[in-house]
């Protein structure tokens, strides 16, 4: 079984595969070694003739197969509904399949009469049967009923009765739905009783069907319910009377309740008393007692229940729970004990212990010295005990009359016999003869069997018993000599004979504590002693849905479960939507929806995939046909990779072109050849602080207007950009006042305090890449800078520097002597400062810098 429970997953599959590989390897090895392998060098000429492997060739993708696949999908869509998804669609009302479940549990009887109830069921059946098929079932059994016409329905409805057992909708409806194939609408006729609805997950059924609740509340009888909640038997085994305590409980509204309590046995009233429950009390206990003589022993053996009835003076909600069944307790059974007295004193009486114990256990023991006609005439005696082996003649305790014949078989029907050695000196030979006689049939002549001649002690007796077919009772299995007793059953008469091999006496090793327990257990095992001395109620079956597992006799005598009588109601919100009112207005009720298989969503997805694949296929085909179209391939992949190309180079950002004809091809070449920077010659003209401008590491402007706000201050965005590491180059003639206005707001507080200064000769701009002696200047206007965040953040060039470094170098007259090379070097230095700040401060570079300086 454990093997069956092995769970198959990826890990176990891999291990299994691995083991299989090893096993197959071993088998292969065995087969291989077993086979005689011979080296045959000439075999290598076979290889020499082997054909070469076919050259791997890139074939055109099978676009046709994809097209066929698409065609197949189309066919699937047109001609089949598989695969599909569940989808709710509107139901065709004429095909409604309705199932009516009729709750017949005790609590329903509180709110309706059967006549009313049946009428409502009938009414709904008539309306629903116009729309389709209607099936019915009740809580009484799980059978499904289908009526072809109204007469059949009437006949069926007449048979309906409330039952006393409780009922859970979950198990009952669950079982019935298994028998029903498809149901669109399930209508549950039931009251709001919490017990019935408890655990019924009707929402689960909503995926498959509509569930409606038809509230049964046609004519509520009363708001209170009185019922017997508990019975207790009080008498001891030696009492002469039968005493009971009966608790009557009232649920529902707190009103005064009174009535009579009647105990009835076999239509004979044993007890009758009145009871009442005050409004401030929940229950009352009535003490009931009657003489034992009122109940005959014969009646007791019939195993009939004792009926407790409460007759209420006020109206009661539930009449079904007014009758309560219990077992009749306290009736003493007769046991015949046959024992020859050996002495006068009771201590010498071997049966004294057994006698006392049986009385304590609630039996009436009739003792005889010898088996006589009186002893034999006792019928319906559950047990006869023979203590033998002590008398001279074994006929004293084991007369011939014990022989079985048809008459005696009737008389001793179901009776049990114990054969016990009288004492430790008892003759086992006599016991053996008695045993032989007990199992003998009268229609054959009995003679003393020879096997009893050797039966001189306990062990021999045990062996004899085993040899005649008795079964061992007690002791170790297989050790017959240790057995407490041996048992034989006669199939003809049901006579059960228990042969004890040891005397049952407290003085004989059992002790006063063990012997009663032992005897009680044996009596219990044989079914002679059946009842507990305390409370014994008839069963209360909570769920009628489990009737398959129950004894039917129990079902008939079940009491109403307390939870059905308690009048507890389930919350209305937890119940399915009710249809009682709708029923009056509408002709028939139709469920709103039904599950149907819809293949469209699946097909749609597949078609998308197919389309996508075909497109890829086409593109690949185009590429394969035209190998030169690498750019196209690149573009194709770029579409998927979303590569942002403008991150690859540095642009001269933010420069507003005054002269669009200026080009910077030479500058680009120079910069790229001298440095490792990829320089984009294109200028970003679309000036916008939100755009790509602020993503650039530097910005080159010839006007303040783009970076100032309406008040003329530096724009906040530019300030944050500088803070993040941006480098701003301003070129042109700006007055000191203009520049100060830029810094007055953001660069005056203590943490960011900074001001404009002229560029010193040892500035990093003059040594960041090339070592420059001076910077180009016009009309003695010096370069200004703003030191911020431990670096030069803004540089102001007092002339049009970009014009100077453009392809068509236009030199201002003041810079006539300034060579083009120097201009490019200056630009590279600015670029380096913008991208790396003053990296030469790094000590690692110091020796190299010093070397170059010298």
């Amino acid at each position: 079984m454990e093997m069956m429970n092995l769970f198959l997953n990826a890990g176990s599959s891999a291990i299994g595969l691995f083991l299989l590989a090893i096993i197959s390897g071993v088998i292969w090895w065995f087969v291989r070694t077993k086979k005689e392998r011979l080296w045959l060098p000439i075999l290598r000429i076979f290889e020499k003739e082997n054909k070469k492997l076919p050259k791997l060739e890139m074939k055109k993708p099978p676009i046709l197969s994809f097209l066929f696949f698409a065609l197949l999908m189309l066919c699937l869509f047109l001609f089949t509904l598989q695969p599909s998804l569940k989808e709710f669609v509107k139901l065709d009302p004429s095909l409604t399949r309705t199932h009516l479940f009729v709750d017949l549990s005790p609590s329903v009887s509180e709110a309706t009469t059967m006549k009313e109830y049946v009428n409502h069921v009938k009414e709904l059946w008539q309306k629903q049967s116009q729309r389709g098929k209607v099936t019915l079932s009740t809580s009484r059994s799980k059978d499904i009923f289908y009526a072809n016409n109204i007469q059949e329905l009437d006949k069926w409805l007449e048979t309906l009765q409330f039952h006393k057992t409780g009922m859970r909708l979950s198990s009952m409806i669950g079982q019935q739905l298994e028998l029903l194939n498809d149901v669109n609408l399930l209508v549950v006729f039931s009251d709001q009783d919490a017990h019935s609805w408890n655990g019924f997950n009707w929402s689960y059924l909503r995926d498959k069907m509509d569930v409606k609740y038809f509230p049964v509340n046609f004519s509520p009888k009363a708001k209170t319910n009185a019922y017997i909640s508990q019975t207790r038997y009080l008498s001891t085994s030696d009492s002469k009377t039968m005493d009971w305590d009966i608790t009557i409980q009232r649920d529902g509204s707190n009103t005064f309740r009174s009535g009579k309590l009647i105990a009835e046995f076999q239509s004979k009233i044993l007890f009758e008393s009145s009871w009442e429950i005050a409004p401030d009390r929940k229950d009352t206990t009535v003490h009931a007692a009657w003489n034992q003589n009122l109940v005959s022993k014969e009646a007791y053996i019939a195993n009939e229940p004792l009926n407790w009835k409460i007759v209420s003076e006020e109206s009661d909600a539930n009449e079904i729970d007014n009758v309560f069944y219990t077992s009749l307790l306290g009736v003493k059974q007769n046991i015949v004990l046959i024992n020859d007295i050996n002495g006068e004193h009771f201590l010498e009486d071997a049966s004294q212990d057994i006698n006392s114990i049986l009385q304590v256990l609630g039996f009436h023991v009739e003792r005889y010295d010898h088996v006589n006609s009186i002893a034999l005439s006792q019928s319906n005696i559950p047990l006869k005990i023979l203590l033998g082996g002590g008398s001279k003649d074994f006929n004293d305790f084991c007369p011939e009359s014990f022989f079985l014949n048809e008459d005696t078989a009737k008389l001793t029907d179901k009776s049990k016999i114990w054969l016990i050695p009288q004492n430790s000196e008892a003759s086992y030979q006599q016991l053996c003869l008695c045993a032989s006689r007990l199992i003998h049939r009268k229609n054959q002549a009995w003679s003393k069997p020879s096997y009893c001649e050797d039966s001189v002690d306990k062990n021999n007796f045990a062996n004899v018993l085993r040899s005649i077919g008795a079964s061992q009772v007690g002791g170790k299995i297989g050790y017959g000599t240790d057995a407490l007793a041996w048992i034989m059953k006669d199939k003809l008469s049901n006579r059960e004979i228990l042969f004890f091999t040891v005397p049952l006496s407290a003085r004989n090793g059992f002790g006063y504590s063990q012997l009663p327990i032992l005897l009680k257990e044996v009596l219990k095992w044989q079914g002679v002693w059946q009842h507990n001395a305390s409370v014994e109620n008839w069963v209360r079956i909570n769920d009628h849905g489990i009737i398959d597992q129950l004894d039917l006799t129990l079902l008939q005598k079940s009491n109403v479960p307390q939870s059905e009588s308690e009048m507890k109601v389930a919350e209305l919100s937890a119940l399915p939507p009710g249809i009682g009112l709708e029923l009056k207005n509408a002709e028939a009720f139709t469920p709103s929806r039904e599950d149907k298989d819809n293949p469209l969503p699946v097909l749609r997805i597949i078609l998308y995939i197919v389309f996508f694949l075909v497109m890829i296929e086409l593109i690949l085909l185009l590429i394969a046909q035209n190998r030169k179209s690498k750019a196209f391939t690149g573009l194709f992949f770029a579409l998927f990779l979303f590569v942002n190309f403008d991150l690859y180079g540095i642009q001269l950002a933010g420069f507003k072109l005054q002269n669009p004809s200026l080009k910077y091809d030479k500058l680009k070449e120079e910069v790229e050849s001298r440095t490792s920077i990829t320089f984009q010659k294109d200028l970003i003209n679309n000036y916008s602080l939100d755009g790509q401008l602020l993503r650039q590491p530097w910005m080159w402007l010839d006007s303040l207007q783009p970076i100032v706000d309406e008040q003329g201050d530096l724009h906040k965005k530019i300030f944050y950009w500088l803070k993040k590491g941006g480098f701003l180059v301003l070129q042109g003639n700006f007055s000191r006042m203009d520049l100060d206005r830029l810094t007055k707001n953001h660069f005056t507080n203590s943490s960011y305090k900074s001001e404009w200064k002229s560029l010193p000769p040892d500035s990093e701009l003059m040594r960041s890449f090339y070592l420059l002696d001076f910077l180009p200047e016009c009309q003695e206007a010096s370069w200004q800078y703003l030191y911020f965040d431990k670096r030069i953040a803004v540089v102001v060039i007092p002339f049009d520097f970009l014009k100077l470094i453009s392809d068509h170098t236009v030199k201002p007259s003041c810079l006539a002597n300034f060579s083009n090379e120097m201009a490019i070097r200056t630009f590279v230095n600015i670029l380096m400062v913008a991208t790396t700040t003053d990296y030469k401060k790094d000590q690692i570079h110091l020796p190299e810098i010093l070397k170059r300086l010298r």
């Binding site: 291989r32 086979k35 005689e36 392998r37 011979l38 080296w39 045959l40 060098p41 000439i42 075999l43 290598r44 000429i45 076979f46 290889e47 020499k48 003739e49």
Partner: protein, 302 residues
């Protein structure tokens, strides 16, 4: 010996001289040297003489011959020497192949034995002719063991040694560095050619080449095989076949036949003489081939 008692090449003794009664030997001019004549011999036959052509030195004219037959004959003188003969034996594992045979068949000699017998015989012939004979054992890893055969006694010693050691050449020779002379006149290659084209590596420049393609009779027959036997060769990756497969439609035999034909064709194309040798080859066939070789060689060098 064959079943009929005819001598096969497995019985070849190096000292077995060619049958002098055979026409090929009788017709041969002489048996002294295989390459050039060692001794001068007067002859009036025009074998080493030719007609005078204008420009020849006058003193070389055989005036006596002119006097006799009125023809201007020039006598030619030639340098004479023994030939450089190299006899190479493939000393590979495959040459020592000797399977255990279940069926009641006489265990044939190993290919190595056949090869050694042929080599010894050739060596003896050439030493007798006064040639310079070099015996090479080419091992699997292209290493070479060299043995110089000066005269018939050397050949005899070596042959007896090999015979005693059951042609286990490992006990006779040790690998040594051998520089093969580019001036090889006659080259013999004796091997099964199952280990690649070793012969091409060694003797491309010889003036005269001969291939003794040595196979075992077991390789040319499937009678000794059993259908459920498994045969393998793992030299070039695993190759495993069962006897039934090889015997079916004479598959193995057909393969060997095709393969040897192909090899023969290749040899002939590159001026190699070719003879397939196996232990069932009759001695007469071998001698006939040797005779043809000798005649062929002489006619080539005339």
């Amino acid at each position: 010996m064959t079943e009929l008692g005819m001598a096969t090449i497995a019985d070849l003794n190096p000292f077995e001289f060619l049958d002098l009664a055979s026409n090929s030997i009788k017709n041969d001019m002489r048996m002294q040297g295989s390459f050039q004549l060692l001794l001068k011999r007067p002859s009036k036959l025009p074998e080493y003489s030719r007609q005078y052509t204008q420009g020849d030195p006058i003193q070389l004219i055989d005036w006596k011959a002119y006097a006799r037959n009125d023809q201007l004959i020039i006598q030619q003188k030639r340098n004479e020497s023994g030939a450089r003969v190299v006899i190479a034996i493939e000393a590979t594992e495959t040459m020592n192949w000797a399977p255990e045979i279940k069926k009641q068949i006489v265990q044939p000699p190993k290919k190595m034995e056949i090869a050694c017998r042929i080599a010894m015989h050739l060596a003896f012939l050439h030493t007798r002719m006064g040639d310079y004979v070099q015996l090479l054992f080419v091992l699997e890893d292209a290493k070479v063991c060299e043995l110089r055969m000066k005269n018939g006694a050397d050949v005899k010693d070596l042959f007896n040694k090999l015979l005693n050691l059951n042609f286990n050449i490992e006990k006779v020779v040790a690998p040594s560095f051998v520089e093969l002379s580019s001036q090889v006149d006659i080259a013999y290659w004796i091997g099964d050619l199952l280990n690649g084209e070793l012969y091409k590596e060694h003797f491309q420049r010889a003036k005269y080449q001969c291939m003794f393609h040595t196979l075992s009779s077991l390789e040319m027959s499937t009678d000794w095989m059993e259908s459920d036997q498994c045969f393998f060769d793992e030299s070039n990756g695993a190759n495993e076949k069962i006897g039934k497969d090889l015997m079916e439609n004479k598959r193995l035999l057909a393969k060997v036949h095709n393969w040897s034909n192909q090899l023969k064709q290749e040899c002939l194309n590159s001026q190699w003489e070719y003879l397939m040798v196996h232990d069932h080859l009759l001695l007469g066939v071998y001698f006939q081939f040797i005779g043809i070789l000798s005649r062929e060689r002489k006619s080539r060098w005339k």
